[in-house]
């Protein structure tokens, strides 16, 4: 799956995107977050409090309980502040 990070999520993790093949047991955004959180201090800092984060799957706003699959594009970012 393709992962994208924006704003301070990208700054904390240190990269804007990456490709990842998680174990088959990772079937929701929440399970993916648990996996990512263990990948290093930058990830741990970015995903420490998921209440501060929003997620989009295939460019649609959704929630952390959403199902995900190997071909999905998943983006993590803070609440939006455009306009």
């Amino acid at each position: 799956m393709k992962l994208l990070y924006f704003a301070w999520v990208r700054q904390k993790i240190g990269i804007s995107h990456e490709d990842l093949t998680p174990p088959a047991s990772v079937t929701t955004v929440a399970a993916l977050v648990d996996l990512l959180r263990r990948r290093g201090p930058g990830y741990e800092a970015a995903f420490r409090d998921v209440k501060l984060l929003r997620v989009a799957v295939n460019q649609q706003h959704t929630g952390f309980e959403s199902p995900i699959g190997p071909d999905d594009e998943i983006a993590f970012f803070p609440p939006v502040t455009g306009g």
């Binding site: 994208l4 301070w8 990208r10 460019q59 502040t81």
Partner: protein, 147 residues
């Protein structure tokens, strides 16, 4: 006609407004909004980050919703990205309709949804530091009136 553009370059408000008129005499009203970078509290610049692709599709979905709610003849939205300094234009929303109420309401609806749903983020520079703008609860309240 709906036109949605995300761009680094500035836009010409007069040209955007003129483009909303269709020349056929059916539009009786054009309402427009322009958002500017406000240089208060020592702000020296802001950089707009965005999610290419999702910004366009999110704005297009709300433009389609606005067209379901109001009799819109033309609609244009331009949002800039990149580094901007105080006084610069950030966003343009313009709506043409046969009557003013629909044009005003649709423009407000589009701005409220743009602020709370379109994936843009602002990084503000003040002095030597830069901080990401936090979402405002007032914007979340503002969008609720359209539910």
């Amino acid at each position: 006609m709906s036109e949605i553009r995300i761009q680094a370059e500035d836009f010409d408000p007069g040209a955007e407004i003129a483009a909303l008129g269709n020349g056929k005499g059916t539009a009786g009203a054009i309402a427009s909004f322009i958002g500017l970078v406000r240089g208060d509290n020592g702000l020296s610049a802001m950089t707009l980050d965005h999610y290419p692709g999702m910004c366009e599709s999110e704005i297009a979905a709300h433009a389609a919703e606005a067209r379901r709610r109001w009799p819109i003849l033309a609609l244009r939205i331009v949002h800039r990205v990149g580094r901007l300094t105080p006084g610069e234009r950030i966003v343009f929303v313009g709506v043409a309709s046969s009557h003013r109420q629909a044009a005003f309401q649709a423009a407000e609806f589009l701005m409220d949804y743009l602020k709370t749903h379109a994936p843009f983020w602002k990084l503000e520079e003040r002095g030597a530091g830069a901080t990401w703008v936090e979402a405002r609860s007032a914007d979340d309240e503002s969008v609720k009136r359209w539910l």
